[in-house]
Subunit: 419 residues, 2 copies
Amino acid sequence: MVKTGVEILCVGTELLLGDILNGNARWLAEQLASLGLPHYRQSVVGDNTERLQSAVLEAADRCRVLITTGGLGPTPDDLTTEALAAAFETPLDERPDLWEEIQAKLSAGGKTVAPSNRRQASLPRGAAVLPNPLGSAPGMIWSPRPDFTILTFPGVPSEMKAMWRETAVPWMRQYGGAHGVFVSRQLRFCGVGESDLAEQVADLLTSPNPTVAPYASLGDVKLRITACADTEAAAKALLDPVAAELRSRTGECCYGQDDDSLASVVLEQLRTSRQTLAVAESCTGGGLGAALTAIPGSSDVFIGGVIAYSDAVKRQLLGVPADLLEAHGAVSAPVVSAMAEGARQRLGCDWALAVSGIAGPGGGSAEKPVGLVHMALAGPRGCVAWAHRFGDRRGRDAVQRLSVIRALDRLRVQLLAQS
Amino acid sequence: MVKTGVEILCVGTELLLGDILNGNARWLAEQLASLGLPHYRQSVVGDNTERLQSAVLEAADRCRVLITTGGLGPTPDDLTTEALAAAFETPLDERPDLWEEIQAKLSAGGKTVAPSNRRQASLPRGAAVLPNPLGSAPGMIWSPRPDFTILTFPGVPSEMKAMWRETAVPWMRQYGGAHGVFVSRQLRFCGVGESDLAEQVADLLTSPNPTVAPYASLGDVKLRITACADTEAAAKALLDPVAAELRSRTGECCYGQDDDSLASVVLEQLRTSRQTLAVAESCTGGGLGAALTAIPGSSDVFIGGVIAYSDAVKRQLLGVPADLLEAHGAVSAPVVSAMAEGARQRLGCDWALAVSGIAGPGGGSAEKPVGLVHMALAGPRGCVAWAHRFGDRRGRDAVQRLSVIRALDRLRVQLLAQS
């Protein structure tokens, strides 16, 4: 059998018990696709030496590169490195520099160095270190056979991703076995459904190169454009006109591309127009502020806000009149407008977004069902209020997340109209 | 090799491209664990006959039961049934009753019957239908070899789950090969590292029944205890004393079990003591409020707070004195204490948590590096301030999330001391 492609092997009993979603496999698969690397198989085994070894030896006969995640920690059930060494009958050597680095990292992080951490400093003879810039568990790049290389990563997603970006991507580009150069771009949309979007661009969805494919997740729709050519410049030259055509067809529904988020786009719009923003949150409870402040540099334009979860806080900190609350209830257009205007005045900013709704599962009524969310945006030219009905079947988390998305998107469109 | 256990094989190119998370594998794995069925391997292959057949024939040598998902639809890339039949050199027979049922279902759903739907009515000779109560794609239960049975499911999660519950669960209980009943519990820890915890309970980590295994994710460490016995009561009787022993050794580091979160535990403590909570957030930007309000019913005790991202908001809404800000800077014990006390007084609650730090990547200095976070907790007996140094390598998101975790955990411990 001709050996081609990259396989992913995730090690962890927690995956076999269904405790966690295999987000690592998905993320790595996406990365392999964007690098144009053929990827034909993913496997999961538990923290078990024998079964891990069988899976690795099988993969060694099938693929050129095997990526493993998990089992690099200091505890007895972290056995990936030892199991791999034994599978290929290779001795483990302690690397003194690695052991020093592990001790230094743990000490710098204020953690005590346990004897069990010392195991992490041993790698099979001949393996290269795959450095872990974030955590103490290093990975390795090791070719136990001439035509087969293993790259090991810890299971902690942030560490795996940092190691992938810093070390594995350049390695994969050089040795991974890609045919041609792939360039990929994602356009991001809000306020349009996946099937509506697909109909607008139906003729482009069958194009062979670049390919265009739609994806949807909660409140977010994406079009991925992927072009393949001999050079990066040639692939980009294929991709750019298709991206431009998609943007011109879809108009302001397209809010950005690749790593853009609604929050990052809105913050950039505000930065450009030298305006500031505050929030007044009831049912989102801080989620809107958290989405904005997740973006580095948000303090340029985001000044803060009020989590007005109780009616008392709505009155005291935002100046919502008690009779308004009594007449209309907290989840109403008049109250959410007063929240937005109160935030804008009291915090002294150009724009204020307010959200008040019924996230559920309790608290709904026939008139105001779970999933009803009122929003308001106060700005230089006055205040506008609107409402969404997200329904009672998606759950509290989805109502809160969709509220954040819709509020930010309304501000984005308003800022577009202003500019 | 003795064949034991159940394997899961998910078929779908979209999984290999990283377009979707493999939620089916997780859900099925959880189901197998709750049925006490040994589950040692999961695999993913694309919509490719040859690779699907290799994966199935390998599994046939390893396991007693193989569950497949995906590839049962009417489109050309749905090829699971044909590929399985060919792999075991078995002819496909059209089942007239199945074809009638498929036509009836499609018509009832207002869909047109396409010629391609007819393929779905064929199963390998000897296979039993695994009925699909929701969709048109039926599955099958088929033993192509004496000691090996395949159950096929569509990839649509709602259809797979309905078929699992109605037909596969009773089949699995009877033929799946469970030895005994498994009962499992997770203990959750904060403020202790995985390796420190593992050393405290090292002798129990090698126990065969119940087994105890540690897991770690950002700011969170877990111990999973799994017991097996002839009956659920007997398994629980094995598990309970081990859980009690673990709790007694680890003390207040153990904050809960199973579905508990720090936020849910703190809210419950406050509910019990009939006290209320507010937050004053700078570098977490709303994340602390969002964590608390993610829990249904949080409005009983969480009244809201102030996202005091700019210094102006710290002064105006929390009453932090301007000279304090000037003398010590926003990221300091005096300012974060003033934030907590200001929130407690102005919002009128029993407890207030305040957080002010440098989440990064910018804004750090030699004296106040990225990752430095000051926190304060104001309560009935005064205000206490402390600081964490999370370092500059983990990234903004991790600093923000760890800040939320540490703040909630400090409040949890304080509430424990009070009770």
